[in-house]
Amino acid sequence: MATPSTATPENIVSLDLADQSLREVNGALQEARAGYYRVRNPRGVHALACGLDGPIEVEIDGHAGYYLAGMNKEARVTVQGSAGVGVAENMMSGEVWVQGDASQSAGATAHGGLLVVEGNASARCGISLKGADIVVKGSVGHMSCFMAQAGRLVVLGDAGDSLGDSLYEARLYVRGNVKSLGADCVEKPMRDEHLKELDELLARARCEGVSASEFRRYGSARSLYNFKTDNIGFY
């Protein structure tokens, strides 16, 4: 379950997409700088709760479409269902929790904050990641963390083909099997500092009973950082 909320029944603001437009709902959430909001009847709508700009809590009562909580700053958004393509894309800070599964490109280009997926995430999870942390409790699809620049991806299940292709400085931790590693992505030793940061991440994502020692670490071999004709096979 997501982190405990500060909500009490009296201070929950209820928004309902059955009788309010997306613009009204997003407008209310974007202007808010505090408080707890519950969005009813999301019905898979796209671009919900994007551009949030303050430390509010938002609970989505169902499934969400593309770009849920896109570019999030500071807010903590929980979706009580699954999320479409690009959940928390380009997040700057805050937390996004998906109780179900996430579609492709979860956490794409995110600069900061934490994305937790309780289920599985599809292909390209963490693509071009720029500093955020992503914890997927199930498995991730192919090309995850393609060109990821900074930040961390933690996968409790398995990773699909070409994990970490053309990786820059992001750090990847996978507990299960990795189907294949992408160009320039290699397994690296788990040192104390990695065990420590992973344990912290697991705790933040509430992965009870999971220990950092069960994971392997992957990162960039940095051999493609400067163009060399002898690397032609990789290009």
Binding site: A47, C50, Y67, G70, E169
Partner: protein, 448 residues
């Protein structure tokens, strides 16, 4: 195009000639590739001969069309961009904008100069791959913020302080190619803005990370609008690959403005084979984009910006006559700032080039201080002076544009129309959809 000099007999005894196919440039490139194992990367746009706006002429006034008096009868040049959905469309005094050029490829001083020059004459500048700098935001009254596949430096605060958003699908110099910034230019500041290690050869993605195809793009645009409260105009920039279909799809996806960049369009750094061999010329691209807009009754409702090889007021006027609402310039703006300056000839020579030919914009050694991150070179570019030079140049373009519009009897530059134009070559007639001069023949459309 054939270069007659290659066919010339160069050996008086045996009559041996240079090969037309294996001309000196081809031989040079084979030898260079063999020696280095690297393909050629450079800046600038296509250098080969292409059909251009020079292949069109205006008819001017005559007995049946009367002209407007120069300097006395007004000829409006203002343009509003983003009238379709945006709550705050952009108002520009002239229909000539500064194209997106990244901080990283350009120095901070160059970005500031562009902002100063553009603002002085009431037009916009555009960020680029690498994020928004304070120099640029601070000195540009109207700033378009590019949304690129790399998303370097992308953040909601800059999105909200931009005046418009340009989703970059492609560039004319390299439709289908991503960005490239070689290690020499990845200084600490550039690296930090892009979240990358210093000094690496940085390649930015050619596809967006979280959408593919027109249906996804429509949702992406919806998200950008939601984040910015539907205030900002949203442009979609495409390289001239399939401009007819891409324009239709951009409109369908919800664009307020479509930017079409022809193959002459410059780049900061791309493979030479890409620059010279992918995409179609600007002349052909404008016609196709306008045909698409007219076909769905969206011409002027979705505005069209055209770029790629615009040099003069005549080029601007011809692009507008063909149906563009505005143009964007890259190379010409850099030249106005001081790029290719003959006064730097000695330094160009040291770099193995000369003024006019200098194309190693990727290398970071620009003696004019424009395409560099080296502090000592950058310091040579005085943003105030360079900004004033750009403003002068933009004023001249505007005066030339007005001169041509008045000669054709137009009180607003947007009243220029294809009927004011004739083509000088059959190729240009076919590409631009304008009759060959002296005939009413448009190849493929009949007439004689």
């Amino acid at each position: 195009m054939s270069d007659q000099s290659n066919d010339r007999i160069i050996d008086q005894t045996w009559g041996q000639r240079l090969s037309h196919s294996f001309d000196p440039y081809s031989i040079h490139e084979i030898r260079r590739a063999a020696a280095t194992g690297l393909y050629r990367i450079r800046g600038y746009g296509a250098k080969r001969v292409l059909p251009t706006f020079d292949d069109l002429v205006f008819l001017g006034a005559s007995i049946s069309r009367y002209p407007l008096e120069g300097y006395r009868e007004a000829c409006d040049t203002s343009v509003t961009l983003g009238t379709r959905f945006a709550k705050k469309p952009i108002e520009l005094k002239i229909p000539i904008t500064i194209a997106g050029m990244s901080f990283g490829s350009l120095s901070a001083n160059a970005k500031e100069s562009l902002g100063r020059g553009a603002t002085e004459v009431g037009t916009s500048t555009t960020t680029g791959d690498g994020g928004m700098t304070q120099e640029e935001r601070g000195h540009s009254k109207t700033l378009v913020y590019q949304y690129l596949p790399s998303r370097y430096g992308m953040n909601p605060d800059d999105l909200r302080r931009a005046d418009a958003i340009e989703v970059v699908v492609g560039q004319g110099a390299k439709p289908g190619g991503g960005g490239m910034l070689l290690g020499q230019k990845i200084t600490e500041r550039v690296a930090k803005m892009r979240t990358l290690p210093q000094g690496i050869d940085q390649r930015s993605a050619c596809r967006h990370p979280d959408w593919t195809g027109p249906d996804d793009l429509a949702i992406k645009i919806q998200e950008l609008r939601e984040i910015t409260a539907w205030e900002k105009p949203i442009y979609i920039k495409i390289g001239a690959a399939r401009p007819y279909y891409d324009t239709l799809l951009a409109v369908k996806a919800g664009a307020d403005v479509v930017v079409v960049d022809g193959m002459q369009g410059a780049t900061a750094a791309t493979q030479e084979c890409f620059i010279e061999h992918v995409g179609i010329p600007t002349l052909a691209a404008v016609k196709e984009a306008v045909r698409a807009l007219k076909g769905i009754d969206m011409h002027r409702r979705v505005q069209l910006i055209v770029s790629g090889g615009i040099r003069s007021g005549a080029d601007v006027a011809k692009a507008l006559a063909m149906g563009a609402d505005a143009v964007a310039i890259g190379t010409a703006a850099l030249v106005a700032l001081g790029d290719q300056d003959p006064a730097l000839e000695a330094e160009y020579e040291k770099l193995g080039t000369r003024a006019g030919a200098y194309e190693d914009w990727q290398a970071g050694d620009d003696p004019a201080g424009i395409t560099t991150q080296r502090p000592e070179l950058m310091a040579r570019l005085d943003p105030e002076k360079a900004g004033r030079r750009l403003a002068n140049y933009l004023r001249v373009l505007t005066l030339e544009l007005q001169t041509l519009a008045r000669a054709n009897g137009k009180s607003h530059v947007h009243n220029l129309e294809p009927a004011d134009l004739r083509a000088l070559t059959i190729e240009a007639a076919a590409m631009a959809g304008v009759p060959l001069a002296g005939t009413d023949w448009v190849p493929g459309q009949g007439g004689f």
